[in-house]
Amino acid sequence: MWRTILRRVLIMIPQLILVSILIFMLAQLMPGDPFYGSLNPNSDPATIARMRHAAGLDLPWYQQYVKWVGNVIHGDLGTSYVVNKGWTVTRIIGQRIWPTLSMGIIAAVLTYVLSISQALLAARNENKIIDRILIVWNTMTSAVPSFVFYFVMMVLFVYIIPIFPSSGTGIDDTQSFTTNFFSNLRYAFLPALTIAVFSTNSIFQYLRSNLLDQQAQDYVRTARAKGVQIKDVFRKHILRNAFLPIASGIGYSITGILGGAIFAETVFGYPGLGALFVQALSGRDYTVITALMLLQGVLALLGGLLSDIISAWVDPRVRVK
């Protein structure tokens, strides 16, 4: 087990280098430089050149890359020029990450609860009307871009039945942690629920076909022939086997937190990292964008790592390889 994990962590190193190069390239693609926001038409060209030289922007790209990586390792992600002028990027992200995390975790848990219960319901009633409805529902939510459903949820639960606040995170820096935690729950729940309701498709389809496959296996027939009740076979054998591949997907829900937050946070006016990304892009705050991309890249790699570890842990056959 430890050897599997070690080998998997070693694979991450070239991946991390590749991710950092990709992000560096994207950062180079963006027009302007970090002084973009602090300049005005009257700035002296010599001053600009001096500032660029001091920041190392006149070096060849590979030296800039090494310098950037060095800064990142020391925790220096630069300074924001537009979103929160003068703040360090680490400070902005540190402030914005909690709302996104709380929303993302609630959304991930709810997604699993909803999709697993839908898959169980569908598989137990194969080809009956409830199965058909669930399949159509999940096909629809996967085909239609989900942000349009967010408007529906917004109108329903903020305006027609006003039980949730319309915008904000409920977090106030002057309050204590527990007060913030509970007031944030009220704000985070609706976007989280909305994300969950409309993203059940992949787990649902996978788990449903797994359950149907397992139901047709010989061991189920043997157990039934011995006289075991179908609900016991379901609980003790079918579920355990069908859940194995689902468990490994848990890692990837970490990867999706930031990407999924972009639309939910924009529609619901919930200022977390996703909204920050949109804000930074619209304002061309490139240090913030680069930092967010880096965060997302690291999250993606960690998600993959976690998934592989979980699947090696629950399924010994994976470890042998």
Binding site: L18, P145, F147, V155, I160, G259, T266, V267, S282, R284
Partner: protein, 298 residues
């Protein structure tokens, strides 16, 4: 002569099977009818859409509510008729979707079949790159590229989308090809000296075509989804080119409460988007069953 007769029979058989599948499936029938109506609307509507609909600005009649001055759904914030803007936007979104899906299908069928057929180090490198690309946040990367470009034309948008989002399709086609390569008919063709491109396009391709069709539909709906999502956030198309996404942009930011107070701004757009994407996916599944009768449900 012989080949022509065969082709004709295949075509008529496909249409017959397609009809039979539609008769069995009420939902698919509904989706088809709605899609046909929508397509007719879009095509016939083109006649009435003025060419300058994206760039015109008529402040006097901007933001009118429905049923005023003969505008059935009111006007947009630049004063254009809402229904006409919707038609223009839907056709733009459809063009983008079809363009991206056609390009991706061509790339994935050729590239996927070749790396699946030959295997070896090309396959190994391609798969490592694809696996790496699949964990990257495509939407965020696209948003960054679009925002640096400061407004793209429809065609460059299609090109960027296609170039960056083919990996999952290639992987699918490669997997399908791998399962065909070791079949007897491929081995027999190889031994009898059939060139590889003939084996690929006349031997393997017909056998994977049902999945190619449904994958095309999924990609089409997915591309419309990505395009509308990004243009909704405000990244992508240049000013004056509207799409279903740009029509929803007015709802973001400070005017979020207009979701409730001005329902006509988003409900028609959303309905068109749902009919388009959902209908296309359902039709793709029907076409898949019509081609490959083994998958037909009784």
């Amino acid at each position: 002569m012989d080949m022509e007769i065969k082709k004709q029979r295949f075509g008529s058989k496909f249409i017959k099977n397609f009809w039979r599948e539609l008769e069995k499936d009420n939902l698919a029938l509904l989706a088809t009818i709605l899609l046909i109506v929508l397509f007719l609307f879009i095509i016939i509507g083109q006649i009435f859409v003025p060419t300058d609909i994206g760039t015109m600005s008529n402040i006097l009649s901007a933001n009118l509510p429905p049923l005023t001055n003969g505008h059935i759904l009111g006007t947009t914030n630049s004063g254009a008729d809402f229904v006409l803007t919707l038609i223009a936007s839907a056709s733009n979104s459809l063009i983008i979707g079809f363009g991206v899906a056609i390009l991706i299908t061509i790339i994935s069928v050729t590239f996927g079949m070749i790396i699946g057929y030959f295997g070896g180090w090309i396959d190994w490198i391609a798969m490592r790159l694809i696996d790496f690309w699949l964990v990257m946040p495509l939407l965020m990367i696209l948003a960054i590229i679009f925002s640096t470009a400061k407004g793209l034309s429809i065609w460059s948008l299609i090109l960027i989308l296609a170039v960056l989002s083919w990996p999952p399709n290639v992987r699918l086609i490669r997997t399908l090809t791998l399962s065909e390569v070791n079949r007897d008919y491929v081995q027999a063709a190889k031994i009898s000296g059939t060139p590889w491109y003939k084996i690929l396009f006349t031997g393997i391709f017909p056998n994977i075509s049902s999945t190619v069709i449904s994958d095309f539909a999924l990609t089409l709906a997915g591309s419309i989804g990505i395009e509308t999502s990004l243009t909704y956030l405000g990244f992508g198309l240049k000013h004056g080119t509207s799409s279903l996404g740009t029509m929803l942009t007015v709802l973001s930011g400070s005017s979020a409460s207009s979701v409730y107070t001005q329902w006509w701004l988003w409900i028609p757009v959303t309905l068109v988007l749902i009919i388009l994407t959902f209908g296309i996916v359902v039709l793709g599944q029907v076409a898949r069953r019509a081609i490959d009768q083994r998958q037909s449900v009784s």
